[in-house]
Amino acid sequence: MRLRLAKDLRGVSGILKINIDLEIEAGKLVTLYGESGVGKTSILRMISGLLQPDEGLIQVGDATWFDSSKKINSKPQKRDVGLVFQDYALFPNMTIRENLEFATDKDDPVIDELLSLMELEDLQDRKSDTLSGGQKQRVALARALVRKPKLLLLDEPLSALDRKMRAKLQEYILSVHRKFALTTILVSHETTEIFKLSDEVLVLKEGLITFRDTPAKLFSGNSLSGKFKFTGEVVNIEREGVVYIVSVLIGNDLVKVIADQTEVENLKAGDQVLVASKAFNPIIQKI
């Protein structure tokens, strides 16, 4: 798909100028990565037709959804796209099954297929407000796929979930991405998620794409060729004599790493970090 978008957005911190121009290969899973307020969600909204770009071009396959030079702007209803919202946006007045039926006919076989794929059969007659966050997310994902879109847009789909639930849902996302041969654009700032899911990362800064490559390249930097590396989150930094002990949460394990003054200067609790070892051989033991 071809994406050329220009839009001035008025936000709380002044005007944000979005200006991107890129080509995304069909069938890829691409992540939009960046801090909040850099325009990630706005880009998804422009692709799905909920926000009109000032200028640009959106082409998906053979179809042109938006072309400012030819005054083409198809409605969101006409765009072949599935969008999963950050707050799920399930309709509270409907059951899970009705949420899916809403987008198609009652007897469409795709509904049963998706319910079983997402393991929602037992929940299908419940209302959405009785579900847990992870269950709601599965419903939102299933509903976005009912119309069999070629393009799936996920707006920080897992940000409200705990670690364990997130890992499980990442599997669901990967499996539908492959099964339905989707082109998927994911908005995320969760390092592990990006590593696990995406083929490519686009870093968005102040409305511009500043980096585009594989996740490994982004998070490890090109200079370091560690054999043994993990990403995690800094939980705590403690001074111990002349050195510092940095506690890093990797997956569900807390790891302590010794660092010197210069290394911890730029670190604070909550930072995403890469922990790598080069010189030593790690010991592997069956447990």
Partner: protein, 223 residues
């Protein structure tokens, strides 16, 4: 006690509530989504009947409806409608007078809905109208019920506006609240009391029903 003022009162309240629902829903929706600069002006106009003495509204409507005014002449000549001292006039006055009681609950209902519900419905291929009837309205049922009942009850309780533009014509514009006033004027306290008790009981029951339904008490009690 005669039944005609009571019947007239409920007719007026029912017609007003019905028309106002269709009139107020688009206004409420617009107010809940708009970022237009004239929003405060429209909100003020809608809320005005809450603070304005009913006689002020009644007075201006009377002037407007009068066969001597431009508006009154236009209605009379083109449609043959005369609004002053008629049931039609009462309905128009009630629509304006009860507008905030319908608009405000529905507007707050719309505002409390997540905007992504609308967007989700659009990306699922539904038109804006289908989104309104199948997603938005069903999800603000308590607000709609509140709006309907408040409007109904408020129209039953009208006095000043009705007196100003409807007068006190038996079977045509003499609603229950006017009938009470009328009976008291002629020192007929027992008749006034029967109307008053009737209104009190009906409005109490209606409000009780709404608060029970919206508070979920009815469901609990039924199960």
């Amino acid at each position: 006690m005669e039944w005609s003022p009571i019947i007239l009162t409920f007719q007026l309240a029912a017609v007003t509530t019905l028309i106002l629902f269709f009139l107020a829903t688009p206004i409420a929706y617009w107010l809940s989504v708009t970022t237009s600069r004239i929003k405060p002006v429209v909100e003020t106009l809608v809320a005005l009947p809450i603070v304005l003495p009913p006689t002020v509204l009644g007075f201006y409507l009377l002037i407007a409806f009068s066969p001597n005014s431009a508006a009154g002449q236009f209605l009379n000549n083109t449609f043959g409608i005369q609004l002053a001292f008629s049931f039609g006039g009462l309905v128009v006055a009630s629509l304006i007078y009860s507008l905030p009681f319908m608009v405000q609950p529905i507007q707050s209902g719309f505002s409390n809905l997540s905007g992504s519900l609308i967007e989700a419905s659009l990306t699922l291929g539904k038109s804006k109208f289908a989104t309104l009837t199948k997603v938005l309205l069903p999800n603000i049922k308590p607000s709609i019920l509140t709006g309907l009942v408040l409007t109904f009850a408020h129209t039953i309780g009208e006095f000043g506006v009705v007196l100003m533009i409807g007068g006190n014509i038996p079977d045509r514009t003499r609603v229950a609240s006017i009938a009470i006033y009328n009976e008291v004027e002629s020192l007929n306290y027992s008749a006034a009391n029967s109307y008053a008790v009737f209104l009190l009981v009906v409005t109490f029951s209606v409000l009780l029903l709404v608060y029970s339904v919206n508070g979920g008490f009815l469901k609990k009690w039924m199960s």
